[in-house]
Amino acid sequence: MKGDITLSTIIENLLMIGFALLILYLLYFSKMFFTTSLEQESNERYSILLANGLISHEKLVYEKNGRIFRGILDAKKLDALFYKTETGLRNESEFREKILNPTFKEGKLSRKELDIGYNQLTIYIYIIDLNDCNENKCVIWAGVLLPIETLDDWVKDNPVYKFFKCMYESFDNNWARPTATCAGLAATGAIIGGLIGGPVGALIGAVVGCAAGFLGNMYSAAEWENCIKEAGRDVKDMYVSKILSFKQGLPVNIIYEDGSIHVGRIIVGIVREKP
């Protein structure tokens, strides 16, 4: 009977649904890409990893008969490597301000002396002796590892490079506008050049006019302004890891020459420019 649900009706409907899904796939899925994005506190992870590495590092830890004692720092080695202060810890923020100051030269560590650390990041290392640490006296060792600037970094930080990079990225491949101005100014330049210097003058006038017209109209005033600003932009925004407090950090022991062992903490802070 006409209108009955037959197998062919079902197959036809299935084909229709399949066709609709195919169109959907072509329209959306073929244009859709899966990408992953990782959100994390990189600085914190870097700090914790580095602090863990430092408490096993041969330049810091106590050694006896060729045996490395992880987590036990040798005060003699720390004295040789770090800036040491014994002033009282009245105000933690005051101390941090001093250490975090870029002009803090006493604590600058050489990468040759301490071969652990991220080359691209500024790293602050504090080791604090918590025994008898009070307002009058507190032993703290501090050091700063500055980023190693490579030739690539120098080039990328150069204002000339930044300007031309910005101009290159700003160009929208619209050749019509500068070409039209080139032609217009070339004609004007040729007439003026021709009046002054004959055919040679006309040629020079045309070339100069075309170049001025082309370059002048290749970018908008806003693009020029943006790239001049970009060239002079200095990166001031910094990410500072949160683990920069004496209440945090990894617990360590500090062994002195007389054999006494004190309780302490190692704090590693990472500072890096915002990309």
Binding site: G3, I5, I10, I17, L38, R45, G53, G66, Y118
Partner: protein, 142 residues
């Protein structure tokens, strides 16, 4: 007669749509979960981060450590490191993923290296004469 025909067509379409929806309802979450899990575990950003972390973490061992890391059986990676900056480029061979290079930093004195189309990594640290020496090797699961 026309109304009856419309009713039958409507019913047939309705039931087919219902069955399709039920199948998709069960299948799609599983499909997307599998895809997202696969992509998150094998993503270049994840591999770069994990590998850089493991390289730095190898410094924790006081004497000797060997770490093997195999992020994916299916995906191969180009991995290179220069000046303690690690770059990873995956080869998905898929139309819905992009082979974007990602980077991460590591913090130990491992010499610069470069590997092509690999997916098994082995990081070693040894201490000789009170000096830590790091090395890395890589191979393909094929």
């Amino acid at each position: 007669m026309k109304a009856q025909l419309f009713k039958k067509w409507f019913l047939s379409l309705f039931f087919i749509a219902l069955i399709t929806a039920l199948i998709l309802y069960n299948f799609l979450p599983y499909f997307f979960e599998s895809v997202s899990l696969f992509l998150s575990l094998s993503a270049a950003e994840v591999v770069a981060d994990q590998l850089a972390t493991l390289i730095t973490a190898s410094s924790v061992a006081p004497f000797y450590i060997e770490i093997t890391y195999a992020p994916s059986k299916e995906i191969k990676y180009d991995v290179s490191a220069k000046n303690r900056r690690l770059e990873v480029k995956p080869y998905y061979n898929s139309p819905v993923t992009r082979d974007i290079t990602k980077y991460a930093f590591y913090g130990v004195n491992l010499p610069d290296f470069s590997f092509e189309k690999v997916n098994i990594f082995s990081i070693t640290k040894i201490v000789e004469n009170s000096k830590s020496i790091y090395s890395i090797s890589a191979s393909s699961s094929d």
